[in-house]
Homo-oligomer: 284 residues x 2
Amino acid sequence: MFYIIGLGLGDPEDITVKGLNIVKNCERIYLESYTSILSCGQEKLEEYYGKKLILADREMVEQRADEILEGADTQSIAFLVVGDPFGATTHTDLMLRAKEKGIKTSIVHNASIMNAVGCCGLQLYHFGETVSIPYWDDSWKPDSFYDKIVANLKHGLHTLCLLDIKVKEPTLESLMKKKREYMPPRFMSVSEAAGQLLEIVASKHADEADGMGSQKEHRLSDNSLVVGLARVGHETQQIIACSLKEMQNIDLGPPLHSLIIPNINLHPLEKEFLQQFAALDEPL
Amino acid sequence: MFYIIGLGLGDPEDITVKGLNIVKNCERIYLESYTSILSCGQEKLEEYYGKKLILADREMVEQRADEILEGADTQSIAFLVVGDPFGATTHTDLMLRAKEKGIKTSIVHNASIMNAVGCCGLQLYHFGETVSIPYWDDSWKPDSFYDKIVANLKHGLHTLCLLDIKVKEPTLESLMKKKREYMPPRFMSVSEAAGQLLEIVASKHADEADGMGSQKEHRLSDNSLVVGLARVGHETQQIIACSLKEMQNIDLGPPLHSLIIPNINLHPLEKEFLQQFAALDEPL
């Protein structure tokens, strides 16, 4: 049997009882290590399970799936995923590859950022499409996610922005060599995400006159309320609500971070709940 | 401390290790019993914990929160929720009431239908706003959720439809008496939901001429592909993909059910994954 097991978001103890019992009886255990990270780190997991974990990076999962699935027709193999198993496309693909080989699969669900984000008090059924904010570089500054945020605002919906993760990215120079060398891992902070959003706001609306009335409601501005979240589900979790401009100067500490662009017209209960995270002692 | 603990979706063992350790040390344990139900039932939970549970219905949670929170400043009280703690507005409210009283709160996250729905292979970041489909009666047939489905289709997004639950609803007659009497619990099936959607489709588009081209893509028809899910996360989980018309005749067994209206243009991987759930042996 091939098990894909969600680990939840914070500590080793965020695994479900079902998941833990399976892990303890598996011959090989892989830990997916490129779409997310667990706040507690790999060593703590190994200590908790009393077992060694095999780190599975993008290259292994996407190009050496056979190796991961080897023997799963007769043995129990576990593939651990931070959050829920269905958070990333490649895990769905892995299940399909297993089925093709006639290997039985079993899923153990868990919390992921997609539902745990409710911890800030914004109601999950008021969220629209989730967007991803990628790291920009000098030559590549994609901003299509901005249009999705605006579309959500138009429909009175919040937007969850997942922030970029770069793990084990080969350096440009090493791509030409036989031996790959990797850049240090990077995790986008709410401050960096706010910086990129401010740049988009400045370039898109630079030539707009003031006084556009209702149209202005449906776009971001420097003063738009945003919510920053760090290490959701972990005991060091932090949430802060402030303007986009202020968010650029907020340091929420170690990864992972997420950013929410709330809809303008908050439900009174959402407002009351968010108020406790307000950066300034002023009503939101 | 007041703990709000997500139970996940299926068995007693879907609780996290963290959650179970807390439950075992709590003085009183409430089980929220009106926004969802656990496939395994209350007795199995009590047996698993070795503890009695106090059932918390809507009336208790919304009007007698003080009773639930009593003593939580010095004792450990747990409030168990099927899925994740932030699935329903009233749980957010309960947290605010606790904070008002100076009672510390702690959340233990878990899987909920909002993220576990990824098990059908449709990617979570391709979902738009979630809608709720309420039971109709002779005089009240709200259909505003239909416009939200259409808006999602227009943006190329899937819609998760949460289906109505009626638990401990007083009978109309008993509202006038001193002693409340309750209707038997009802849980909307995918078949019932499809029936209501077909009625809306028939009434909204009855007078439309054929050949509307791209406009037709953005509305539902009898032949639209829909996905029915039952008991997600439980070992008896069932998923079926078929037309809206066919779904009306599908019996997925005991609750809870959910229905998905997928976007027309599926990603190849989504299509490949969904294919294994096709009701007919034809390509989707």
